[in-house]
Amino acid sequence: MDNEQSRLLAAHFQCEPGNTVLVGIADVRVGRSPQVLKTNLGSCIAVCLYCQAAEVGGMLHFMLASPLPKEREGFKKGKYAETGIPELITVLKSRFGVEQTQLTAKIFGGASLLPGVKHNIGLDNEAAARKYLREYGIRIIASKTGGVKGYKVDFDLGTGKVKCQTFDGDIMEF
């Protein structure tokens, strides 16, 4: 294992007790059964990648589609779909030896929580997630996106199932 792989591992394995891993903005987290990756979303998107055969997966919680022109280096890759999706794929490969052809994706979030804001970042984010997953040849098998309320997402790495609840909505399983 080289230094870069060691760095990625150290950065991505900060687990809470009880197998729950909390995923914040710009985080890229991976794990395996029986861990559960958990996050809340507004206009951000959670990209959940899973390998059924190995029962391993990961979650990216990105906030915007692409880095701003003045921010082309030295930022957290997980902030953006353009850089976060390849980062998640790389970490899954380096930690578990999973090839991207073995992965499927589920995406959640992209809501518009702030009333009266003209530019809908959530929509842009959803489009970016779809675009970059397509570029890497990863099929999206489930999604719940948009709306005006937040999302609570629990990604079970034992089954690959995602429990998703919108505010004031029922818990749905994907």
Partner: protein, 198 residues
């Protein structure tokens, strides 16, 4: 995991004075023994602070306000659903227990208190630190704590990953009511430059 870094002493001083002013205003507003206390001023990684908020999973009502002018700050006040009913009764001078469900009065109460506190803080910046700021009308939000906090962080800082967070809580004595108040300077360096110049 939380990774907090101490912040500049001038930022801490400004924070303390702002919170003291807001506390005095709140006490008068609620005509009660209400007190806001500065809980912490720290620098945090955006992932760490939002992970922390995701852990609670509470349903909250929040008021988000921009303080704009010589430099920009982002203000957030929030309270959980149950405590928002109590806050509404106190604000409207109704017997405790009158408000039992979420509605326009609760929404307006939280937005109004947010507006008043943000204005008080803008006043401190203006009078004591010669930083002219004006509060925008509040955005009211009723959602998961993690979702609201995510929007707050996104709106505060999309370039820097280390964020200065001024975190306060207020308690109304005798009622067990607890609200949280956050202020984030959008450009910490600009604030420090200004403070150094006065």
């Amino acid at each position: 995991m939380e990774q907090h870094t101490p912040v500049n002493k001038y930022i801490r001083m400004v924070s303390q004075m702002s919170v003291e002013k807001a506390s005095a205003v709140l006490g008068k507003l609620l005509k009660n023994d209400a007190k806001i206390e500065l809980e912490n001023v720290y620098m945090s990684d955006m992932s760490a602070i939002t992970s922390k908020m995701n852990a609670s999973g509470e349903r909250i009502i929040g008021a988000m306000i921009d303080l704009t002018g010589d430099t920009d700050f982002k203000f957030l006040l929030f309270v959980n659903d149950k405590d928002s009913f109590l806050l509404t009764d106190l604000m409207l001078r109704k017997p405790i227990g009158t408000t039992t469900a979420f509605g326009p009065y609760v929404y307006s109460t939280v937005k109004e208190i947010g507006n008043i506190l943000a204005s008080a803080i803008a006043g401190v910046f203006s009078v004591d630190f010669k930083l002219n700021l004006k509060p925008t009308p509040p955005y009211g939000m009723h959602d998961f704590s993690g979702s609201i906090f995510e929007e707050y962080i996104m709106n505060s800082q999309i370039i820097a990953e280390e964020i200065v967070i001024i975190e306060s809580v207020f308690n109304v004595v005798g009622h067990g009511l607890r609200c949280s108040m956050y202020i984030i300077p959008v450009d910490e360096k600009k604030v420090l430059e200004h403070l150094a110049a006065i």
